[in-house]
C-alpha cells in the first residue's frame, strides 16, 4: 500500500461514499440553511494511513519537548506573572476544543455531502487530541510550577468563576442551535480561521518570551491541524454560497460570529498577552499590532474580503469597529482592569503593573497612563492586606460594571452600553451588536424569515446574580477557591507567596455584601433606570464614575 500516491489513494477512498438504499440515516441536528445547488468536493483528501503516523510523530515531538523541559528545569526561568494567567487560559481552552469535536456530527445532516463527512470526522478526532494535549500541558504545569493551586482545580474553577463563563461562550457557541451557524460559521469560518491566529500563533510567542517554551510547542502542534479544519469550513461556505436563499443567514451569522469571537477572544487573549507578560521590549508587538497582522491582514484582507467576489456581504463595519475597540476604546485594557478588580473571585494570582510596564504601555498605546495608570497604582497600593478591603470594595474611582447579557464580558466601554427589556427582563449589553445578537439574531424569526432552527441564549448568564447579597468570604468558599489550610485564598493580587502577605477568608468577612448590578437594575423604576443608563454611558474610561455635571 505504501507505494501508492496520496492522490491515487484519496481517489480510491472516494469509492466509500454512500447513498442510502433502505434507510435514511437519522440526523438529529437541523439548520435553516439549504444546499440544494451545492457542488460536492472534499477539500481535505485525508487518508488515515498517513494521518495517524503523522499525528503520532507530532505527539512524539511534543512529549519529547516536555520531557526536555522537565529535565532542563524550565520552571526556574518561567515568569510567574505569565503562568498564573495560564491557570485561566488552560482551564477554558480544553472545553472549546472538545466542543469542536462535538460540533462536527451536527454537520452531517446539515451538509449533504458524504465527501465532507469524512473530513468532519477527522476533525472530530483532531479536536479530541487538542483537548487532551492541553489538559496534559496543564497537568505538567501543576506538577512542576511553584504554585499548583488553580491548576489543580481548574475544571471545577472556571465553571463557577466570574471570568470563566466568558470563555464558555466560545465553547457552547459550537454545539447548540442551528448546525451551520454553530459548527460552520461560528466555529470553522470565524473562530478557527480568524481567531486561532491570536490564540495559537501570537500567544505562544509571548509564552516563549516569558520563559515558557512548552506552551508554544503544544499550541503550534495544535495549530498545524487547523489548516485542515479551515478547509472544512471553506468547503461548506462555498456550498452555502451557491444557494441564494442562504445569503440572509450567512450575513447574519458572519456578523454574530465575528462580533462574538472578537468580544470573547480579544478580551481573554489580549489580557494574557498584554498584562501577563514581563517582556517589555519596545519592539515587541503589542496585542493591537498582533491583531492587525494576524486577524486584520491575514484573515480579513486575505480570506474574508476575497469572498466578495462570490457576492458575499462582508461585515466590514464590524471589523473596523473591532479594531476601533482595541485601538481607540481600550477594550483589552478595560478587560484586564476588570479581571484584576475582581481578583478575589478568581483562582489565580494577578500581578500588579510596575513602572516598567507603564512605560511600555504608554509607548505602545499613547495616553494609556492617563486612563489606567492611577488605577494600577492603587492596585499595587492595596495588594497586600493591611487593614483595607480588596480593591473592589475600596474607593479607587471605579464603578463596577454591568454584565453584557450576550458575550458575558461586562459593559466596559461605557459609552457603548445599551439596554433592552427582553423576555421580560431588563438586560444590559456591551454594544449594540450584542443587543442585536440576543434580541434579533437568536430568534425564531429573523427579518421576517422563519428561522426555526436558530438557538437561544439561556442560563444564568450573570455570575453576580447567583451571589447577590452574599458575604465575599462565603462566595469564595462556595466556589472552592481556598488553599489547603482552609483559610488562605487561592487568588492573590500579587505574586508574593509569603503566607503573611496572602489574603485569607478572614480578610473578606468584613467586606460589604456582593451586589448584582442586574438584580438592582430590575428593581429600579423606569425613571431610575433611565437615569442609570444616562449616567452609565458617561462613565469611563477605566471605569471612572461619570463626571459631575458642570
Amino acid at each position: 500500500m505504501s507505494r501508492q500516491s496520496l492522490a491515487k489513494a484519496h481517489q480510491k477512498i472516494q469509492e466509500l461514499a454512500w447513498e442510502p438504499q433502505y434507510h435514511e440515516p437519522y440526523m438529529k441536528y437541523g439548520t435553516d440553511y439549504t444546499f440544494r445547488k451545492a457542488s460536492k468536493k472534499d477539500p481535505l483528501k485525508q487518508v488515515l494511513r498517513s494521518y495517524f503516523p503523522m499525528e503520532e510523530e507530532k505527539d512524539n515531538r511534543v512529549y519529547g519537548a516536555q520531557d526536555g523541559a522537565i529535565r532542563g528545569n524550565m520552571f526556574r526561568q518561567v515568569q510567574e506573572r505569565w503562568l498564573e494567567w495560564q491557570k485561566l487560559f488552560l482551564s477554558i481552552i480544553p472545553l472549546p476544543e472538545i466542543s469542536a469535536a462535538r460540533s462536527m456530527p451536527m454537520l452531517f445532516q446539515a451538509v449533504p455531502n458524504p465527501e465532507l463527512h469524512n473530513g468532519q470526522a477527522i476533525q472530530m478526532i483532531d479536536e479530541v487530541r487538542h483537548s487532551t494535549i492541553q489538559q496534559n500541558l496543564k497537568r505538567l504545569y501543576m506538577n512542576n510550577y511553584i504554585d499548583p493551586a488553580g491548576f489543580n482545580n481548574s475544571l471545577r474553577g472556571f465553571q463557577g468563576d466570574y471570568c470563566g463563563t466568558i470563555g464558555r461562550q466560545f465553547a457552547e457557541g459550537f454545539i447548540t442551535g442551528d448546525a451551520i451557524t454553530a459548527a460552520s460559521i461560528y466555529l470553522t469560518i470565524v473562530a478557527e480561521t480568524a481567531f486561532t491566529n491570536t490564540l495559537f500563533v501570537a500567544m505562544p510567542a509571548e509564552a516563549a518570551a516569558n520563559g515558557d517554551y512548552l506552551l508554544p510547542t503544544v499550541f503550534h502542534s495544535v495549530q498545524s491541524d487547523e489548516s485542515r479544519h479551515i478547509s472544512n469550513g471553506y468547503a461548506t461556505l462555498l456550498m452555502a454560497l451557491s444557494d441564494e436563499d442562504n445569503r440572509l443567514l450567512l450575513e447574519r451569522d458572519l456578523r454574530y460570529a465575528w462580533w462574538n469571537n472578537h468580544r470573547v477572544v480579544d478580551a481573554a487573549i489580549g489580557t494574557f498577552i498584554e498584562y501577563g507578560t514581563k517582556d517589555r521590549r519596545k519592539d515587541r508587538e503589542s496585542y493591537a499590532e498582533m491583531w492587525r497582522r494576524w486577524i486584520y491582514d491575514d484573515y480579513y484582507r486575505s480570506y474574508l474580503v476575497p469572498l466578495e467576489k462570490y457576492g458575499l456581504t462582508i461585515p466590514h463595519d464590524l471589523v473596523e469597529e473591532s479594531w476601533k475597540q482595541i485601538w481607540e476604546k481600550g477594550y483589552v485594557h478595560e478587560v484586564a482592569q476588570f479581571f484584576a478588580t475582581g481578583w478575589l473571585a478568581n483562582y489565580w494570582r494577578i500581578d500588579a503593573m510596575t513602572d516598567k510596564d507603564f512605560e511600555w504601555f504608554e509607548y505602545k498605546y499613547p495616553g494609556w497612563y492617563d486612563k489606567y495608570g492611577k488605577w494600577w497604582e492603587n492596585y499595587s497600593r492595596l495588594a497586600t492586606p493591611n487593614g483595607h478591603h480588596p480593591i473592589v470594595a475600596e474607593n479607587v474611582d471605579y464603578a463596577y460594571p454591568h454584565r453584557c447579557w450576550t458575550c458575558m464580558v461586562p459593559c466596559l466601554v461605557r459609552e457603548d452600553m445599551v439596554m433592552q427589556e427582553v423576555d421580560g427582563q431588563w438586560r444590559t449589553y456591551c454594544h449594540e451588536m450584542c443587543r442585536w445578537t440576543d434580541a434579533e439574531a437568536f430568534r425564531p424569526v429573523y427579518q421576517g424569515r422563519e428561522t426555526p432552527n436558530m438557538g437561544r441564549l439561556v442560563g444564568h448568564r450573570e455570575w453576580e446574580t447567583l451571589y447577590h447579597g452574599w458575604n465575599w468570604a462565603d462566595v469564595v468558599t462556595d466556589m472552592g477557591f481556598v488553599r489547603d489550610d482552609g483559610n488562605t485564598m487561592t487568588a492573590q493580587p500579587h505574586l508574593n507567596l509569603d503566607p503573611k502577605k496572602m489574603w485569607t477568608l478572614d480578610h473578606l468577612r468584613r467586606m460589604p455584601p456582593l451586589q448584582s448590578p442586574n438584580v438592582l437594575l430590575n428593581e429600579m423604576s423606569d425613571a431610575e433606570r433611565q437615569a442609570f443608563a444616562a449616567d452609565y454611558v458617561r462613565q469611563g474610561p477605566a471605569g471612572r464614575p461619570a463626571p459631575a455635571d458642570a
Binding site: Q79, M124, T488
Partner: protein, 397 residues
C-alpha cells in the same frame, strides 16, 4: 565590509531566573497533595493519565457548572440532555440544582458525582496519545505486511475464485465499516452525556473509518498486483448482490436509530458485530483465506477484528454492563436492552443467513455456514452474559 543590518543587535527576550519551580518555597497548597487534579474521584486508587485529561472537561450543571448551559437549541434543549438515550444511570431522574438570585453555585446537600453516567471510564483509556499510537501501529504493520506480500509475489498463489471473492466480498465489507464509523459512531458522538462517553465514541469512529480505508487501499494494491483484479467489483456487490442486501439493510437501519445514542451503540457493538461482523470477518474470510493460498487478507481483516474484539466491545461492555446492575435503574435498563435484543437480533440473524451463499464461493471451502453461525451465536451469548442479560430465544432457532 560587514553588512550593517547584520551587525545590528537583535532584539530577543532575555532569560530571567525566577526560581518558580515546584518545591522552591513553602506556603499553603505547596505540598505534594496539591499536585493532582482535585475535582474528580478516580475509578481506582490512583488517578490515571487518561482520567486526568478527559474527566470533567465537558461540564454539567450537576457538576460545578453553576451558571448552567448558556446556549440552547430552538426547542429548549441545551447541552447534553440525559434523555438522549432511554438508558438511565442512577441520579438522572433527580432534577438539576435550581439556581437563581442569591442561590450560590452549589445546593447545600450536594454530593459528587451527581449521577451515575459520570462513573464510566473507557478501559481502553483512549485519549490522544493512546489513540494515535494504536492506530499508527496498525497502519504501519498493515503496510509492512502487504508490502512484504507484494515483494514475495504472494498474490500469485491465490486460487482464481478466491481472487473473485476478495475483489467482490472482502471489498464489500469496507462499506459497512465506513457507514458504521461515520453514521453510527461519529453521528452519535455529540449526544452522549460525558466526555468519557463521547471520547470513546470518537475513538471507535476513528478505528472504523481507518479500517474501511485499510480495506479500500488494500483493494487498490490488489488491483495493481493481480492481473484482472476488478477494483470496482465491490461496488457492484455492495449495490446489487443479493447476499449483501440483508447486511446492507441492517447497517443502514443502525444509522436510522432515532434519538438514542445508547441503542445505536448497543445494536451495533452488542448485536451486529458478533452476529454479522465477526461471522463474516472471523468465521468466513479468516478461515477461508489460507486454504485458498492467501495469507495476506487475514492480516488486514484481522486488524479490524482486533479493533472490535479488543477495543470496541471492551468499552461497550464497560459502558453498558454497570447499567444492568444500576442501583436505581437495573430493571429498567435490562428491560430496555432485552427489548433492543428482540428488535435487532432477528434482523441480524436474517442478515447473516442472507450471506450464507458466500460460504460456498471459494474453491476450498471454509467451515460450514451453520458451524460458523454457531460460533458467532456462542460468542454473542457470552457478550449477553457479560452484560448481565439473558440470551435471547431467537438464538435457539
Amino acid at each position: 565590509m560587514p553588512d550593517e543590518a547584520v551587525a545590528q543587535e537583535r532584539s530577543v527576550p532575555k532569560p530571567m531566573f525566577t526560581d518558580a519551580e515546584a518545591g522552591a518555597r513553602t506556603f499553603p497548597d505547596s505540598g505534594a497533595s496539591a499536585r493532582r487534579y482535585n475535582y474528580f474521584e478516580p475509578a481506582k486508587r490512583k488517578q490515571t493519565h487518561y482520567e486526568d485529561v478527559t474527566v470533567e472537561v465537558q461540564p454539567d450543571p450537576r457538576h460545578y457548572l453553576s451558571q448552567g448551559w448558556i446556549y440552547g437549541f430552538a426547542d429548549g434543549e441545551r447541552g447534553y440532555p440525559l434523555h438522549w438515550t432511554k438508558l438511565k444511570a442512577w441520579g438522572v431522574d433527580k432534577p438539576e440544582p435550581r439556581r437563581g438570585i442569591g442561590t450560590g453555585g452549589l445546593p447545600k446537600d450536594f454530593v459528587w458525582p451527581a449521577h451515575g453516567w459520570h462513573w464510566f471510564r473507557d478501559p481502553n483509556e483512549e485519549w490522544e496519545q493512546t489513540l494515535y499510537r494504536y492506530n499508527a501501529n496498525v497502519v504501519r504493520q498493515l503496510t509492512q505486511n502487504v508490502e512484504n506480500a507484494r515483494n514475495g509475489k504472494a498474490f500469485a498463489a491465490w486460487s482464481p475464485n478466491w481472487v473473485r471473492f476478495v475483489e467482490r466480498h472482502v471489498g464489500a465489507w469496507m462499506h459497512i465499516e465506513h457507514i458504521l464509523g461515520l453514521y453510527v459512531f461519529a453521528a452519535n458522538e455529540r449526544s452522549a452525556p460525558t466526555n468519557m462517553h463521547n471520547t470513546a465514541l470518537a475513538a471507535n469512529c476513528a478505528r472504523k473509518i481507518r479500517f474501511a480505508q485499510d480495506l479500500a487501499l488494500y483493494n487498490l494494491t490488489l488491483t495493481e498486483e493481480i492481473e484482472g483484479f476488478d477494483g470496482t467489483a465491490h461496488l457492484e456487490a455492495w449495490n446489487s448482490d443479493v447476499e449483501w442486501q440483508g447486511a446492507r439493510k441492517l447497517t443502514e437501519a443502525l444509522t436510522a436509530i432515532q434519538d438514542d445514542w445508547g441503542e445505536a451503540v448497543f445494536a451495533t457493538n452488542v448485536v451486529f458485530e458478533p452476529l454479522v461482523g465477526e461471522l463474516f470477518r472471523s468465521n468466513l474470510v479468516m478461515q477461508a483465506a489460507a486454504p485458498n493460498g492467501d495469507f495476506v487478507t487475514p492480516t488486514v481483516i484481522g486488524a479490524g477484528e482486533s479493533d472490535y474484539a479488543q477495543r470496541d466491545l471492551r468499552w461497550t461492555i464497560a459502558c453498558m454492563a454497570p447499567l444492568t446492575e444500576d442501583k436505581e435503574f437495573a430493571e429498567h435498563n435490562k428491560e430496555l436492552m432485552n427489548g433492543w435484543l428482540s428488535h435487532w437480533v432477528p434482523q441480524a440473524l436474517e442478515a447473516a443467513r442472507t450471506m450464507q451463499p458466500l460460504w460456498s464461493q471459494a474453491d476450498h471451502r471454509p467451515p460450514r455456514f451453520e458451524d460458523s453461525l454457531d460460533v458467532a451465536k456462542n460468542r454473542f451469548a457470552v457478550v449477553c452474559r457479560d452484560l448481565g442479560l439473558d440470551v435471547p430465544e431467537e438464538l435457539k432457532l
